[in-house]
Symmetry: C2
Subunit: 111 residues, 2 copies
DNA sequence: AGACTGTCTTGACGTCTGTCGAAACAGACA
DNA sequence: TGTCTGTTTCGACAGACGTCAAGACAGTCT
């Protein structure tokens, strides 16, 4: 399912099918906790981060963090992998880049 | 309130205050109808578009479209202005650009 | 094997969201 | 001034969402 990846929001109307695919990703980012989780995962130096490093960063219970992580996972924004005792999360740059491209205000279009 | 505007998600963790400001904007974009509305507004040739052109593009009642437009307005993504009989909506590129910057996957960082 | 730790799933609860119909408001035209 | 069209607000309803406590599952260590 390859939604049109490149044109910016400001260039042409987003087709309904693309909107249906992309909107859930924006929605997943639409919670302050998930936005921070996403950035913690995406900015992890080793490319991945342990849930055990994520959970204590918030005043929320483990299950709640787990729930948010699942939302991010289902939106296609992150990937999870269990390795021994801990579960590691990694960002999926592709979709992130697609969202960014969509939002990018035409770089050279005020000409 | 000027949230840190430039660093990407992938560069450093989004601070809680920034997340609190930015997440509502993502949330506003997190509905297929609003995403399409946003793109129709942002891609309007004259820079603005009449509600009367927006409403018939969806299988939804006027009040529902109005509700979504209000959400976009309250998120700071669009501006409305009444001129005579019709109301015109215009995009606010600043916030859009901020969101794009946040999402942009480090352009030259695979070096 | 048994106990322990870390993570996820389930079930529940109150709140928010998307939608509509009906009504209110703003401006134009006769 | 009165009526008509376009837009928003109000009230209501079903469904989704964020959160937690309790329980289930996975893996490790003794």
């Amino acid at each position: 399912m390859d939604v049109s990846c490149c044109p910016s929001l400001t260039e042409q109307r987003v087709p309904a099918e693309a909107a249906a695919v992309l909107a859930p990703a924006f929605k997943a980012l639409g919670d302050p906790v998930r936005l921070q989780l996403m950035s913690m995962i995406a900015s992890a130096e080793s490319g991945e981060i342990c849930v055990c490093d994520l959970t204590p960063a918030f005043d929320l219970t483990g299950p709640t963090i787990s729930h948010h992580l699942r939302t991010l996972r289902e939106a296609g924004l992150v990937d999870a992998e269990r390795r021994g005792t801990w579960v590691y999360y990694r960002a999926r740059p592709a979709l992130l880049g697609q969202l960014a491209a969509l939002l990018t205000v035409a770089p050279e279009v005020n000409a």
